[in-house]
């Protein structure tokens, strides 16, 4: 099994979730993160002084999947999350040894 981590722009979350739902992916865990990369933060003002906010809000989605779903999911995420502008984010894929569903104790593919 694989873990897919996608760092995306926050306002794309709904779109990506809907696109994934259409290809049958309904399990995921999402968290709010701050990203630092090529996309530069905007500057803000405070009592007459300007300053730069360099960590930008991003959303991280984590999905555990069977190996054969990976390609489709990656393509779907890329398509739904892309705006073509800098800062669209990244997808990272790694291995997962084992999964357990807490409620039932089922493991691996059955637990996804």
């Amino acid at each position: 099994m694989k873990k897919i981590e996608a760092i995306i722009k926050p306002f794309k979350l709904e779109d990506v979730k809907d696109a994934l739902a259409e290809i049958g992916i309904t399990g995921m865990t999402v968290s709010e993160v701050k990203g630092y990369g090529r996309q530069k933060g905007h500057s803000e003002l405070y009592r007459g002084a300007e300053y730069v906010v360099d960590f930008l809000p991003k959303v991280k989605m984590e999905m555990i999947l069977d190996d054969d779903q990976v390609e489709e999911v990656v393509n779907t995420v890329v398509e739904a999350a892309r705006t073509g502008k800098i800062g669209d984010g990244k997808i990272f894929i790694s291995d997962i040894d084992q999964i357990i569903r807490i409620r039932t104790g089922e493991t691996d593919s059955e637990a996804v």
């Binding site: 968290s31 709010e32 803000e44 003002l45 405070y46 300007e50 809000p57 959303v59």
Partner: protein, 393 residues
């Protein structure tokens, strides 16, 4: 004893004025609580600038235009001015609240000046003031103690014009669906609503104009009591309707119901017995509960419910005087009330529409889509409302 009346009425008017000024933070907190966190600073800034800009415009131009002269023999002219000045921002607040989360500040400030210097003073002129229509067939006989029409409908008509021109928030109506955008900070909403409620005591009580005789003291006290009662009734009915429908108490609707009741009683709180406001407020609250979804179906996107609270109930409240307190001997008739509503609408709506339309050609009111996405705060103010609080997804 002339001095006694002069002193007391000056003092009382200053007291009432102070209560109304509490509505400035009142509106600010209410609206700041109702919008999304990314637009909170912008809404607060708009509220502050409106108070500053419209009051200044009223001082320099509007007041003389509305009342013809600053002279006043019954109380200090400065107190009389301050009381009237406290009203002007409200009209614009009503309008600005309803277009928040997408309106840009610069054109709004320009509109605030025109509203504070000309549009609102003109409405006051023909209803409470110098009355340039006197003697013409348009002359109003409407009874509107504290402005169901003069303040609330006026603000409401301007808002309607603004929404038609500015459009809805990005993402609000999509593919035929209405996306709900919840309030971000409920304690602020409640605080704001109660500051408004308290301000209303000054608004309506002070509009009686004097407290220095036994009769006027009674009128003031009755006015304040009836104002409060209508608010209570509006809250209770809105809460009950929500409970019947959803088995849940939606506080944002309960408070809108209360405010609807308060607007509705505002035209004639001194004319009713102490039970009528229960009915007027209850109808006011009910109207809000039904109007909010209707405006949404009409795709009139109003984040704070101002059309339902102020425009619908401004009309209802003005009619209510004709229904429950008609007194032809004193010139109060249902027809007279209706005429007042229509004349004010026929003036405020087109004029606001044209003014906003023209301003809009020069400086667009509506923020770009990506600006709306990122939030007005960062783009218009450069100040986030809650930079240290992690925003949920």
């Amino acid at each position: 004893m002339a001095d006694f009346a002069y002193v007391i009425d000056t003092f009382f008017t200053l007291f009432a004025m102070v209560l109304i000024i509490f509505m400035v933070p009142g509106f600010a907190m209410l609206e700041a609580g109702l919008v999304r966190t990314k637009n909170v600073t912008a809404v607060l800034t708009v509220n502050t600038m409106i108070y500053a800009v419209a009051s200044m415009a009223f001082l320099l131009i509007g007041y003389s235009w509305a009342f013809g002269s600053w002279e006043n023999s019954s109380m200090s002219m400065w107190a009389a001015f301050m009381f009237q000045m406290a009203f002007v921002g409200k009209t614009i607040n009503i309008m600005s609240g309803g277009v928040s989360e997408r309106v840009r500040m610069m054109p709004l400030a320009v509109f605030a000046v025109i509203m504070g210097a000309l549009i609102y003073p003109t409405v006051v002129n023909i209803s409470w003031g110098a009355n340039m229509l006197e003697g013409t067939f348009l002359a109003l006989s409407m009874y509107d103690l504290a402005g169901s029409t003069v303040i609330h409908s006026t603000g409401g008509w301007a808002l309607l014009a603004a929404i038609l021109i500015i459009g809805s928030r990005k993402g609000r109506y999509m593919n035929g669906k209405i996306r709900v955008i919840p309030a971000s900070n409920i304690p602020l909403v409640v605080l704001g609503a109660f500051l408004l409620w308290i301000g209303w005591f000054g608004f309506n009580g002070g509009s009686v104009g004097s407290i220095s005789s036994k009769e006027s003291a009674d009128a003031v006290a009755l006015t304040i009591m009836n104002t409060n009662t209508a608010g209570l009734a509006g809250a209770i009915i809105a809460g009950s309707l929500m409970y019947i429908r959803y088995k849940l108490f939606d506080i944002t609707m309960i408070l809108n119901g209360a405010l609807g009741g308060l607007v509705a009683v505002t035209a004639g709180p001194d004319l009713y017995d102490i039970y009528t406001p229960i009915l007027i407020g209850a109808i006011g609250g009910t109207l809000v509960v039904f109007a909010v979804p209707i405006f949404d179906k009409l795709r009139l996107d109003d984040p704070v419910g101002a059309l339902s609270v102020h425009l619908v109930n401004g009309i209802w409240g003005t009619l209510a005087v004709g229904i429950f307190a008609s007194n032809p001997a004193e010139g109060i008739t249902l027809m007279g009330q209706l005429k007042g509503i229509v004349v004010v609408a026929a003036f405020v709506f087109p004029v606001s529409f044209i003014v906003i339309f023209i301003i809009n050609k020069i400086v667009r009111f509506r923020a770009e889509e990506n600006v709306q996405l990122e939030g007005m705060d960062v783009n218009e103010c450069g100040v986030e409302a809650y930079p240290e609080f992690k925003r949920a997804i």
